[in-house]
Amino acid sequence: MHAVLSKKRIAPDTYDIWLSHPDIYRYAKPGQFLIIRIDEFGERIPLTIASAEKDRVRVIVKAVGKSTYKLCAMHEGESVADIVGPLGNPSEIEKLGTVCVVGGGVGIAPLFPVARALKSAGNEVIGILGAANKDHLIMVDEFKPFLDRLYLSTDDGSAGVKGTVTNPLKEVIADYSPATIWAIGPMVMMKFVSLLASQNDIPCWVSLNPIMVDGTGMCGACRVEVGGEMKFACVHGPEFDGRLVNWDELIKRQYQYREEERLALEKYVRELGEKDG
């Protein structure tokens, strides 16, 4: 069992959670993830490691479905049943010169350890953080010490430039011609960042989060076409060159269980209501 050591709301429906775990800090590297199962009825869900310290690991969770709702509703002292990790291959961090990191929405959180590691490796790091509005722009102050430049964007213009992250990215590409781009966020965002990178011939790492079950390479639920080949995101990734990813197929695979997800969440909310009422 892994206790919730602390929980803080950092944006609407979004929580910064530290969970107890004895070992993960010893092995975790930027870019890796966990599989969490909340209780004996729970499903296994992948969550990226935001940080890991002695005896504990940090995840940033947005409540979007039953499992993430349940996790976000947990109180300090309550426990989740299972945590497996670190999983997946670490990010390929090296000194490249100028790099641009692009985070969207809750994807800003998994980008954080990558940005920090890139800075420690001696890179000039330019950050672009985007969200729906200023309330959803998370962790901006945490990023600042590790960024040489920071651009913000919001869909409604409530902070930074109005629109998506691709607007400032175009500017960054024109002004600084970064050696590599890292993009983590919603699939559609990663798709369009990859497209821009492709047009400008810049390598572009994206962190994929397809549907997973075991997260250990034994089922192929997370399979994705990269460069015309079938890859399993959990063991071959989760980071791939976004220019090679078959985005349209991946985005459609992501919605496979939408109906079941809706059912599970509705039932959960109904039961919560009955319990409270």
């Binding site: 049943a81 192929g220 639920a221 079941e260 997800e261």
Partner: protein, 459 residues
């Protein structure tokens, strides 16, 4: 004069059982078990024992059963086999102990139902004083809690070694919990057998993927010996166009969702599984039958098994095939999908298939399937499960860099002892590729013996 036929085992009626996940085979009553036990000739040369990969004293446990001494019978079983309730259910006895049975050699006569008797005795749940030898100050790590690992762990614990099992999932059993469905092997039975292994003092560490969450080097340094039993691992895919369409699954994913994650009880359990009207399952092994029968129970209107060879070459157990036929599964022999067809939402809507014909025998001794020109046709389906086998575990190369692999990518281990390297042993599917539960258990047993003599020699 010996009765010609095995005492029949009662089963749930097909029309009833396709609506639930309850165990199909109901087991013997005491009277039935004793009647069957009386068919055993108690041969002095015991050919059946040689046919058993873990060498159970078969006439011995049957004799004790016949005399009504269930405790003694249980003890004889458990001396050789740590998981008899499982083996009695899932072993292909017709190719092992029962194949060698003398009664089965009498013209027109069936062999003694050894598997059913083993199951009966194990299901009586006689709890035994476990005989564990005095503690030996040596630590053994077992990687993987499947049939091979559980057997090796239990045998080593009985010898007094301190054993820790590292398991990737949150529960022990390997294929027994994620692969074989509830209606063939109730998970309660697996849990009970695992409890027995725990009672021997074996420690389990769950959610640990050696080579990922803990470096293999660390395990090697901390333990006096290591047994690797991590299974065959990754699913093989046909790799035909359209493989990534929605509602196309590996049997591993489909069965893991249903069995391990209990998706058949969704939404009480959180993991969903797809339910579609027309399901095709590709292959003809035991896993194919498991996936097809699962799909039927989950509510598919039509389930089609599609196999490129004919009924004669089918690798599945005949009993499972009969169960599948009784449950209304439709079989398409000599048929090979060559492309999946999808709609605008990326959902599969059909398979382009070709008919096959059989040519000369190949390396496996089975006749090679050849495509019949101009035989293309479309089979309309809205879900496909590929059950065409496994390839070696993907984390093997990265996670166990010092381990020698053979040309198939499996661990290169000595057949008799499972020895791989100084203090490193391996067994089960990770050495042989996909095989059976009992063969994995046999390998675990042989390795446990080899580990014991290695550790005692090392001093």
């Amino acid at each position: 004069m010996v009765e010609k036929f095995k005492v029949r085992m009662r089963e749930l009626d097909p029309s009833e059982r396709v609506n639930n996940f309850e165990e199909v085979a109901l087991g013997y009553t005491k009277e039935e078990a004793i009647a069957e036990a009386n068919r055993c000739l108690q041969c002095k040369h015991k050919p059946c024992v040689a046919g058993c990969p873990v060498g159970i004293d078969i006439p011995g446990f049957i004799k004790a059963l016949r005399e009504g001494d269930i405790e003694k019978s249980t003890r004889i079983l458990k001396d050789a086999n740590n998981l008899p309730a499982i083996c009695g259910r899932v072993c292909p006895q017709e190719k092992q102990c029962e194949l060698a049975c003398v009664v089965g050699k009498i013209p027109g006569s069936e062999p003694v139902a050894i598997g059913r008797l083993e199951r009966f005795v194990a299901d009586q749940n006689i709890s035994l004083e476990t005989t564990v030898k005095p503690s030996v100050n040596k630590r053994v790590a077992v990687i993987g809690a499947g049939p091979a690992g559980l057997t090796a762990a239990a045998d080593l614990a009985k010898e007094g070694f301190s054993v820790t099992v590292f398991e990737a999932f949150h529960t022990a059993g390997g294929v027994l919990v994620y692969g074989i469905p509830e209606f063939r092997l109730p998970k309660e039975i697996v849990a009970k057998e695992v409890e027995f292994v725990k009672s021997l003092g074996v420690e389990f560490r769950f959610n640990q993927i050696v080579g990922r969450t803990i470096p293999f080097e660390e395990i090697k340094n901390e333990y006096d010996a290591v047994f690797i039993g991590i299974g065959a691992g990754a699913p093989r895919f046909m790799g035909i166009p359209g493989s990534n369409l929605n509602n196309i699954f590996s049997s591993s994913e489909y069965l893991t969702r249903t069995n391990l994650m209990k998706a058949y009880l969704f939404p009480m359990y959180d993991t969903p599984v797809k339910i579609k009207d027309r399901v095709a399952v590709i292959g003809a092994g035991n896993v194919t039958m498991d996936a097809a029968r699962t799909a039927k129970r989950l509510g598919a209107k039509e389930v089609h098994v599609v196999y490129r060879r004919s009924e004669e070459e089918m690798p599945a157990r005949i009993e499972e095939y009969h169960h599948a036929v009784e449950e209304g599964i439709v079989f398409h022999w000599l048929t090979l999908p060559v492309e999946y067809i999808g709609d605008i939402n990326n959902n599969v809507t059909g398979m382009k298939c070709v008919k096959m014909t059989l040519g000369e025998p190949d390396d496996s001794g089975r006749r090679r399937p050849i495509q019949v020109e101009g035989s293309e046709f479309i089979m309309e389906v809205d879900m496909v499960i590929e059950a065409i086998g496994q390839t070696p575990n993907a984390i093997l190369k990265a996670g166990f860099p010092t381990i020698r692999l053979n040309k198939w990518g499996n661990i290169d281990a000595d057949e008799a002892s499972g020895r791989v390297d100084e203090g490193i042993f391996a067994g089960g599917d990770i050495v042989t590729g996909s095989a059976t539960v009992i063969e994995a258990m046999g390998a675990g047993k042989r390795s446990a013996r080899a580990i014991k003599s290695y550790l005692l020699r090392k001093g």
